[in-house]
Each structure stands twice: as structure tokens, then as C-alpha cells.
């Protein structure tokens, strides 16, 4: 009787693992055969050409998102860990969870209404990056908070006993110890931003050209857009580009995730062991 139950639970794992492996296999296989040198040297031309504009566009959007989200998230996380025991801290912690649960398309539409139309930024890098930043700030705040709360309190007390100020204790004693955890959060935020589509469709737009450095009034291309829109075109060249883009996205996301996991396991052996 017990044997059947174990078999069923193992089967459940197989039911989940097989599609995942098939997803990876399909994307890597079809994507790899669509890879070519010109993907990295040419821009998209209608439904053919290369992906240079989309690759650089994704990197610009993600870099912009992290530039905004990391400072805010880290500062918020420090506040929650060091001074967040009261009612305000509990409220922010809850709202942090709520924000991670808000569907990304809602964030995208919010930005469309406020930034793209309201402020007249049109489809632009800043609108796209800001939307991604709102999306990933809660993750960075949470990881920062956890990293800081794992710094032993006697180290802080030792700092105060030496007459250091609060600022110095936090930045010179706690921050270096919390840094790997913060980095893990930032990497995770990067992985999430790399793979997002819905918040960008109506904020970043799409462009066949390379980014010209303008923050507003200028749309920008990105890889996930290629996956979503080119697979619907009835042309082989469009499908090849979609799979090549998916290959690059999956590769970037997986590498970032593996780096984050390795960092987490290495810095918190106790937690990883469970």
C-alpha cells in the first residue's frame, strides 16, 4: 500500500520534470539551430535579419531597472531589518508581498496610463525600466532584509561599544556580511526582468533600430517581444528569430539563476542544507 503511494509521489515529480526538460530541450534545440553570427551583428529587419537591437535593448532595459531598483530595494531592506519591528515595518512587509503578487500586466498598464500617456513619455526606455523596477523592488528589499537580519547582533553591539555611529555600524560592519545575500536578490531581480514581457509591451514598445541613447520619446526593442510576436508570423525566418531569442533569454535567465543559487548555497550552508 505504502509502496503505491511512494510510486505516485515519484510519478508526480516525473509529470513535472518531463515537461520542463522538454521545454529546455525544445528551446535549446530549435534555438541553437537558429543561431548564427548575424544575430549578433545585425538589427531586426521586418521579420528577418538579426537580433542586435533586441539583445542590446534587453540589456539596457534590465540595467536601467536594476539601477533604479537596487538602491531603493537595498535601503528599504535595511530599514525593515534594522528598524522595522514596529507596525509600519509589518505593514510594509505585507505590502511588499502584495506587490510581488500584482500581475505584471497590471504594472504595465499602470505605467502606460501614468508614464506613457500621462507624462507623455511615449514608449521609452525610462517607462520600461521604471515598470520593471517597480516589479523587482520587493524581491531586492526582501533579500536585503533577510541578509541583514542574519548578521549576528553581537557584531553590531561590538561596533557600538567601540563608539561607532549607527551609519558606520550598518555600512561598515553589517553591509559587508550581508553583501552576498543582497547580490543574490539583485541577481534574482535581474533574472526576472530579463524574462518579462507583459510589463514592457505597452511601456517600451518595439524598435527595429539600435537604441540612440534617449531615455524618453524613443521606443526600444527587447528579446521577449521577439518571442511573443514573431512566433505568430507565418514565416520561417520569423519563427527562427523567435526561437533564437528564446534560446538567448533562457540562457541568460538560467545562468543568472544558477549564479544566484550557487551564491546562496555558498553563503548560507545552514539554510541550503534543509
Amino acid at each position: 500500500m505504502s509502496g503505491i503511494n511512494w510510486l505516485l509521489s515519484g510519478l508526480a515529480f516525473v509529470v513535472v520534470a518531463v515537461p520542463l526538460l522538454d521545454i529546455l530541450y525544445t528551446i535549446l534545440d530549435k534555438g541553437f539551430s537558429a543561431l548564427s553570427f548575424k544575430l549578433f551583428t545585425q538589427v531586426t529587419n521586418g521579420i528577418s535579419g538579426g537580433l542586435l537591437n533586441a539583445i542590446t535593448g534587453t540589456l539596457v532595459l534590465v540595467a536601467g531597472a536594476l539601477l533604479i531598483a537596487v538602491p531603493v530595494g537595498v535601503l528599504a531592506g535595511i530599514h525593515l531589518s534594522e528598524f522595522g519591528r514596529g507596525r509600519f515595518g509589518r505593514l510594509v512587509r505585507f505590502l511588499d508581498d502584495v506587490l510581488t503578487g500584482v500581475p505584471s500586466i497590471v504594472l504595465g498598464y499602470f505605467s502606460y496610463v501614468t508614464l506613457v500617456i500621462g507624462l507623455g513619455w511615449q514608449f521609452s526606455v525610462l517607462a520600461g525600466s521604471l515598470t520593471l523596477a517597480i516589479m523587482v523592488v520587493p524581491y531586492i528589499a526582501r533579500f536585503t532584509e533577510i541578509a541583514f537580519s542574519q548578521v549576528p547582533n553581537n557584531l553590531r553591539e561590538a561596533g557600538y561599544a567601540l563608539g561607532l555611529r549607527e551609519f558606520t555600524v550598518i555600512t561598515r560592519i553589517a553591509l559587508p556580511l550581508a553583501l552576498p545575500g543582497i547580490l543574490t536578490g539583485a541577481l534574482l531581480a535581474m533574472a526576472i526582468s530579463l524574462g518579462e514581457t507583459a510589463p514592457l509591451i505597452y511601456t517600451a514598445g518595439w524598435s527595429n533600430f539600435l537604441w540612440n541613447g534617449r531615455l524618453i520619446h524613443e521606443p526600444i526593442g527587447y528579446l521577449t517581444y521577439v518571442i511573443w510576436s514573431f512566433i505568430n508570423q507565418p514565416y520561417r525566418s520569423a519563427h527562427a528569430l523567435a526561437f533564437a531569442a528564446a534560446f538567448l533569454v533562457i540562457l541568460l535567465v538560467l545562468l543568472t539563476n544558477v549564479a544566484a543559487t550557487v551564491l546562496l548555497r555558498r553563503t548560507h550552508p545552514v539554510r541550503a542544507g534543509r
Binding site: 511512494w6 515529480f13 535601503l75 500581475p103 501614468t114 524574462g195
Partner: protein
């Protein structure tokens, strides 16, 4: 009191999180306000979404300028959202529990991190990649293999599984993709909960003569019941708001209720993406504002599911489930 610039900066950054949420709510309400007025409760109960005649002069109805014949009802998309999420959760919950038990108790310590990582990868795959896989692998499979097999077995007894199978895009494809996306959320939380059950509890159950699986079933699972419920609600929230993957495999039904499990459907989230382009053609802007009303409803649903999850879990947030 001494001014503390460092603390002020921290506080300022922290308050951006509640501010962002408040801004989302306020601006969505403000932008969709004319639509809320115009649509009234019919918005939730109406069967038809029609932009009306965009070429004729707009008329005034309920004090708002709208195109002639414009009608914004989202019941079809509500049904699409609820049905895909319900089927997805019905599939994902038992599978997730099996996966969690397998990972927490059914493996030796060496294999556990490796196989756990596979499930964690599932959570890392971007939704548009799920969509691509669903589009190129799953929907043909449903059209040619899964669909006919279901129709010839379950379909004999349950009409909902019978009838025309169509192209493979539809309710079943969307539900299967959503189920795959929800499993890692539930499985990871339950696995972490199981791993935290004290050894004394397990030993006590063993001492009463329970087999290993009985220990899991009778002693461990009841202890993590609240984790399971909380995780399921978070999974539901994820499924209700998922956009890209559903958009790419659901077939995009308009003004059409699903009559079997293979019918095309549209969810509220995917509808926003698929319709904004055409809504922008509306010179009165009422269509775009009605889409904002859908986004507002999704936002409220997200807040409610998170509050429910928090309330039912009872504890403060689960640190290791991030």
C-alpha cells in the same frame, strides 16, 4: 530630537513600496473612472465586448461620449480566467503535494538538492517561454493526441470533455501551462514546510508503528496544512494574473463562452494585452479606460488573494519560501 539623515533616507526608500501600491490603485481608479461610471455593474455581467462604430460620430450615453453601439462586458473573460485557473489548480495541487512529499521525504540527501533544483528551474522559466513551448509543442499534442484520447475516454461520460477538439488552442492548453507554472510555487512551500517538521514528531509517529508514508500522511501533512492552503492561494493569484503564456495558447475567444474543455478562451489579463491596440482606435478613449477597469479588477483580486493567503497562513511571512 536630533535629525538623522541616514534614517530619513531609509524611511523614504521604504515608503516607496506602499506609495507604489497606492499610486497603482489611485491612478487606475482615476483613469478608469469614466468607464466605471459608464459601464456600471453591467461591466461584470455583460456578455459582449464591442468597441461600437468607431467611424461614426460618438454619442452621449450615461453622460459620457462613447462610440455608437459600444458595449463593454467582461463576463466572458471572467469565466475564462476562473475556468483556466480552476482547472490548473485542480491539476497542480495533487501533483505539487506529490512532488513536495517526494522531494522532502522520498529521496536520499544526495539527490535532494539536484531534483529540488529542477523544480526551482520551473519557476525560473519566463512565462513567454512557457507560451512558446505551449504554442509549438503542447497545442499540436492536444489537437492530435491528448484531445482525442480525452474525448474517447472521459468524453463518453462527461460532455465537457466531448465535442469538437479544434486546433488545440484553448481552455485545456491554457490550464495545462498554468498548472505547470503554479506547481513550483506550491511544491516549494510545502516541501520547506515538511522539512521543518520536528524530528520528535516523526519519531513519535514511527514509535506508534506507522510506516514511513503514514508518518508523512498522518503526522507531517496535518502540521503543514496552513502552509499548503497559503501556497495554494498564492498559486491561484499567480494563475489568475498570468498573461503571456495564456495569451499564446488560449486561442483568444471574444464574446464566446467555452462549451467544452477544448474551446478557445480569453482571460482578463491576456485580454488587456491583445486588445489595447484596437482599443486605441476608439476616439472617445472609453475602450482604453475600460481596459484600465479590467486592470483595476485584477489589482484588487491580487490584493485580496494575498490578504487571504496571509490571513489563512496566520503566521508572519515565510522567509525560506522566497
Amino acid at each position: 530630537m536630533r535629525l538623522r539623515p541616514f534614517r530619513m533616507v531609509l524611511l523614504l526608500a521604504t515608503s516607496l513600496i506602499p506609495l507604489a501600491l497606492a499610486a497603482i490603485f489611485v491612478f487606475l481608479v482615476r483613469y478608469s473612472w469614466p468607464a466605471i461610471h459608464f459601464n456600471g455593474v453591467d461591466f461584470l455581467g455583460g456578455h459582449t465586448w464591442s468597441l461600437g462604430n468607431l467611424y461614426a460620430n460618438p454619442v452621449e450615453r450615461h453622460g459620457q461620449q462613447v462610440p455608437i453601439g459600444a458595449d463593454y462586458g467582461i463576463l466572458v473573460f471572467i469565466v475564462g480566467t476562473l475556468s483556466t485557473s480552476a482547472i490548473a489548480l485542480a491539476l497542480a495541487i495533487p501533483v505539487s503535494l506529490g512532488v513536495a512529499i517526494f522531494l522532502a521525504e522520498g529521496l536520499n540527501a544526495r539527490l535532494r538538492p539536484v531534483l529540488s533544483f529542477i523544480v526551482e528551474l520551473l519557476a525560473a522559466v519566463p512565462s513567454v517561454v512557457y507560451g512558446l513551448w505551449g504554442y509549438s509543442v503542447l497545442t499540436p499534442l492536444i489537437a492530435h493526441d491528448i484531445g482525442p484520447a480525452l474525448r474517447d475516454s472521459l468524453g463518453r461520460f462527461i460532455p465537457f470533455f466531448g465535442g469538437p477538439i479544434g486546433s488545440g488552442y484553448g481552455l485545456l492548453a491554457a490550464s495545462l501551462v498554468l498548472a505547470l507554472m503554479v506547481v513550483p510555487i506550491i511544491a516549494a512551500t510545502v516541501r520547506d514546510g515538511l522539512a521543518r517538521v520536528p524530528a520528535e514528531t516523526k519519531e513519535a509517529a514511527y514509535a506508534l508503528g506507522a510506516t514511513h508514508f503514514e508518518v508523512v500522511r498522518r503526522a507531517m501533512l496535518p502540521m503543514v496544512r496552513s502552509n499548503i492552503i497559503g501556497a495554494c492561494i498564492l498559486g491561484l493569484g499567480r494563475a489568475l494574473g498570468e498573461t503571456m503564456a495564456v495569451l499564446m495558447v488560449s486561442g483568444g475567444a471574444l464574446n464566446y463562452f467555452p462549451d467544452n474543455v477544448y474551446s478557445p478562451v480569453t482571460t482578463m489579463a491576456s485580454f488587456i494585452v491583445s486588445q489595447l491596440d484596437s482599443a486605441l482606435q476608439d476616439p472617445t478613449g472609453m475602450a482604453v479606460r475600460s481596459l484600465a477597469e479590467i486592470a483595476l479588477i485584477l489589482f484588487i483580486i491580487a490584493v485580496i488573494t494575498n490578504m487571504l493567503a496571509r490571513f489563512l497562513t496566520g503566521s508572519s511571512r515565510n522567509v525560506s519560501s522566497v
